[in-house]
């Protein structure tokens, strides 16, 4: 029965169904290391598929791959549509998920009760499945369903930090409520669009909206736009709708923080790309509507305010969480520019930030693993005790700063270039640069504590984190350095994605 089956044409759907089936099977993997090994296998396989998919997309003449589920024509069924943008995001999410799963074993062993590891990893893999599903689909309602899968799994994952700190529960519940309200706005926005266009396929929606005479003054379309903007803003933690994020990332289990910071909000931003660029189109979102003003003001305010807040934090994870909101500001500021370099900077920063922040949260998790806490006081003198972990933290921190030869610099370069090219947007360039100074300020508090202060108490006795944590951490940090030294691959892909997104831009 297998002779008719080929992997390559089915890649878009394999990317999602393999973690779906794999995730469900995880609960049957017994105790001990079984569930973890299985989850690693599944995420590794998915990563491999996304690499293949990337190759396929790059080779595709049309620039995208379309997959009609159930062989229903795309106007009526659900279509998967993979272009350079989603292929890149898929690669990022799958890659970081794989590395984070590798990392998770020791950390989860310590932080999650032994008897439910199989359920934990099942939810973990399903979260990855949901995130990948959102990224690959070309159907507006399918986005909502998968969004709910990823959200529901994430609520559960965050709440699993409850044994370390009860605030994980309130963080999770707060996220649940805000996240559900946000998702409901998205659902309603899709409903408004469905009412006007009569279709759910994204391309089809775009064509219908473009054909609509006077879409700019159609009040239904306008409110749909606003609803989606608010809903997506909540999901991607756009300032000032980010209230749920810092607490959630702070109190989630370490491995979960690493996974989420690198993937969850990124996929939220990807959705914003799809809705603003693919469905509404540049002409509507950024020329007719003042989306660029709203988004860039929110992004810039986010960069500055959360930067200052991050400087004032003493808990490393909370500091990184605030930094995440700020870094999302860069991404949003980039695509609000709506020109090629701005959008490319935005796309490339999705990747770069995922890699860097994943590595940083892993480092924070390694400190948690050894010390049971990770505030500025407990990391004093840790530069000598845990040299690899702290070096990773510094390297990742330099990436956040946007130091030359780190991935963050590449993003900054594109963003500033885009801001200088766009008319009257030079303040964005200024904010991007000032934001990196704030990053220096909060990164440097860690450097000072870890390298120039004497350890106290139990932190004087700890040793380096186990290899199974340090190695994945360095894979991500190493990648962030590699793609800072040689960003031709990431740069070209994001330029390609930017050009295809801006396709019909005036």
């Amino acid at each position: 029965m297998l002779e008719a089956f080929e992997i390559i044409p089915n890649l878009p759907v394999l990317v999602v169904t393999v973690p779906l089936i794999g995730g469900v099977l995880t609960i049957a993997m017994g105790r001990g290391k079984g569930p973890w090994a299985w989850a690693t296998l599944i995420t590794g396989l998915v990563f491999y598929f996304t690499v293949l998919l990337m190759q396929q997309v790059l080779a595709a003449k049309t620039g995208y791959i379309s997959y009609e589920l159930g062989n229903w024509p795309r106007q009526w069924g659900i279509e998967y549509r993979v272009d350079a943008l989603n292929a890149f995001i898929l690669l990022t999410v799958a890659g970081v998920s794989f590395v984070t799963t590798l990392y998770a074993q020791k950390s989860v062993e310590k932080e999650i009760p032994q008897d439910r590891h199989n359920f934990f990893y099942a939810v973990w893999v399903l979260a990855v499945c949901g995130l990948l599903g959102i990224t690959v689909t070309g159907d507006a309602f399918n986005v909502y369903v998968l969004l709910e899968i990823s959200s529901l799994t994430v609520y559960a994952l965050i709440a699993m930090g409850k044994d370390l700190n009860r605030q994980a529960l309130t963080a999770s519940l707060r996220y649940l409520i805000l996240g559900s309200v946000g998702a409901s706005f998205i659902l309603l926005g899709i409903g408004y669009l469905l009412m006007v266009t009569g279709t759910l396929n994204m391309e089809d929606m775009h064509d219908r909206l473009a054909a609509l005479p006077d879409a700019v003054h159609n009040r239904t379309v306008l409110v749909a736009f606003a609803l989606l903007l608010v809903g997506l803003g909540m999901k991607m933690a756009l300032f000032p709708l980010h209230m749920w994020l810092p607490k959630a990332y702070t109190y989630a289990p370490s491995a979960v923080s690493a996974l989420l910071s690198a993937t969850a909000t990124k996929v939220g931003i990807y959705m914003a790309f799809r809705f603003l660029f693919t469905i509404f189109g540049v002409g509507f979102s950024f020329v007719a509507m003042p989306a660029h003003v709203v988004l860039s003001v929110a992004a810039c305010a986010g960069i500055l305010v959360t930067g200052v807040t991050a400087v004032r934090q003493t808990n490393l994870k909370r500091m990184l969480a605030y930094s995440s909101v700020g870094q999302l500001g860069y991404i949003v500021a980039g695509f609000a520019l709506a020109n090629v370099h701005g959008v490319a900077g935005s796309v490339i920063h999705i990747f770069n930030h995922a890699v860097m922040k994943g590595g940083l949260f892993m480092a924070a998790g390694a400190i948690m693993y050894r010390l049971g806490r990770c505030d500025l006081r407990s990391i004093r003198g840790l530069g000598k005790r845990m040299p690899l972990t702290m070096a990773a933290f510094v390297a990742g921190g330099l990436g956040l700063v946007g130091f030359p030869l780190t991935a963050g610099f590449i993003s900054k370069w594109y963003l500033v270039q885009g801001a200088l090219e766009a008319p009257h947007m030079w303040p964005v360039a200024a904010v991007v640069l000032v934001g990196s100074l704030l990053a220096v300020a909060y990164t440097w508090r860690v450097v000072e504590a870890a390298y120039f202060q004497e350890p106290e108490g139990e932190s004087a006795l700890v040793t380096e984190a186990p290899l199974s944590m340090v190695a994945p951490m360095w894979i991500l940090i190493g990648a962030s350095v590699y793609f800072g030294v040689s960003a031709t691959f990431t740069g070209e892909i994001s330029m390609r994605a930017a050009k295809s997104l801006l396709g019909g831009a005036p």
């Binding site: 559960a156 009860r166 519940l173 309200v181």
Partner: protein, 152 residues
């Protein structure tokens, strides 16, 4: 019926949604918030199902096909929003279940399910934690100042 009257049905969904949203924001009780969230979502369901209605329509179950009859039988309501909302209902009950599980856990660890009380506890925790690190910093500063004094 082409004016405001023709779309009033869509307004009731807004009313339901807003009652729910008000509950989510205004009620400090977590159970109330969870229930209100459900109401909020039901409002959206109402919107979708209203969208499916067609004048003079009937349920989209094609009995004619079973009978093999040839006659046209009134227009059918649009099944697409029904399908979407079936999915959404399932999502909302799942979210409710997880929310309730969280609330039970919160009750277990905090002893209350009133949001303002919980928030106060969290703030107190945070403050204590912060102060602990501040105390040490202040001690360091003091130490340094004393050292400087000693040298002078």
């Amino acid at each position: 019926m082409t004016g405001a009257l023709g779309i009033y049905n869509y307004w009731i969904y807004v009313l339901l949604m807003m009652i729910g949203l008000y509950g989510v924001i205004a009620k400090p009780n977590l159970i109330k918030q969870a229930i209100a969230l459900g109401l909020f979502q039901t409002g959206i369901f109402l919107y979708y199902i209203s969208m499916a209605v067609i004048d003079g329509g009937t349920a989209p179950v094609w009995t004619t096909i079973l009978d093999g009859a040839q006659k046209f039988e009134g227009p059918y309501d649009n099944p697409l929003p029904h399908v979407l909302i079936l999915t959404a209902i399932v999502v909302s009950v799942s979210v409710l279940a997880v929310a309730l599980a969280l609330i039970i856990n919160i009750k277990r660890t905090y002893g209350t399910i009133e949001y303002d009380e919980i928030e106060a506890m969290d703030q107190a925790d945070k403050r204590a934690d912060y102060q602990r690190s501040q105390v040490v910093d202040a001690a360091d500063d003091l130490e340094q100042r004393l050292e400087g004094h000693h040298h002078a």
